[in-house]
Symmetry: C2
């Protein structure tokens, strides 16, 4: 069951076996590094442009982008899940954006534990301006891909995402035992 044990025995030739670690997953490691490189390259460029053009940080833009999709606001927990960052991180981020009058954060009427965060009118306008350029920057960086290639990447990355989530859930519940062995 341990992830470190080579359970799936892929047949490899002798060369590959003795050069690599037990199971020889070099292709996967190279793919992971390439994925990281692509993401970092694009992200670094976007970060720089957001600062130059709008004097805003990427995390702030990302937070505003989430809120823009939720006119009725969103709790911190929801934001945390969607942005894939820690809860504590958001507390500070929201505080700073609230200080800049771009978002508004207030306790929920029905559950006083929850904070509901919304874009202010100013935040919405500011985001709209940024989003237009942001979209064109991304498109420009992907200009070398054909529509078909974009489509293929979408499909394969969706598959990778599913695959990663399966691995995730597999090691987050090392022992189950209670509700039967199903699913």
């Amino acid at each position: 069951m341990a992830a470190s044990a080579p359970e799936t025995l892929t047949i490899v030739d002798a060369e590959t076996v003795h050069v690599d670690a037990p199971a020889g997953h070099k292709a996967e490691i190279r793919l992971w590094l390439r994925l990281l490189t692509c993401t970092m390259t694009i992200e670094t460029s976007i970060r720089r442009k957001l600062r130059e053009r709008f004097d805003v940080t990427l995390p702030r833009f990302d937070l505003m982008a989430q809120l823009e999709k939720a006119p009725d606001g969103m709790t911190l927990g929801e934001l945390s899940k969607r942005m894939m960052v820690s809860n504590g991180n958001l507390t500070g981020l929201v505080e700073r954006l609230a200080a800049a009058k771009l978002v508004d954060s207030r306790a929920s009427e029905t559950d006083r534990r929850a904070q509901i965060v919304r874009l202010t009118a100013e935040g919405r306008a500011e985001f709209a301006a940024m989003a237009v350029e942001h979209e064109s920057w991304v498109a420009e960086m992907m200009r070398g891909l054909s529509p078909g290639e974009v489509e293929t990447l979408m499909r394969l990355l969706a598959k990778l995402k599913r695959s990663a989530h399966i691995a995730l859930s597999a090691d987050e519940k090392p022992a189950e035992g209670k509700n039967g062995a199903a699913s």
Copy 2:
């Protein structure tokens, strides 16, 4: 020439046009978000496991991984370029790893500005142990992809990387003028 102007007019049907921003690059934005999600999912998992199993942070692991490929050491500038992080970032990272006796940093003999960083014997041993498990974690998360799919992703991400670099260099030199208009 501006990245924000819709230069490449892709023919789209009326529905799509009026819903989207000027040039309608929704597919590209969605691909970018998916790329980000995949990377963050895998990275978060690796970060957690490195901490649990080896009590080490991801940036430290990444730095050691770079040094492992350079037995004769590497300058900070070289590390900065390869890891795609800022120069100042590395100063602190190397200091902390040096304090832990995992790397060794000393001024170059031939250029006293440059610091040359190397893994210590202890660092090399520590990294070797981590690398084995790291490789299997990554492979596990990619288990749902066939070898052919891994190959296709490699190829298309390489293309995306090139495309992004072209866009990068296009706006890093807004005016050239000196060495002729060639290339």
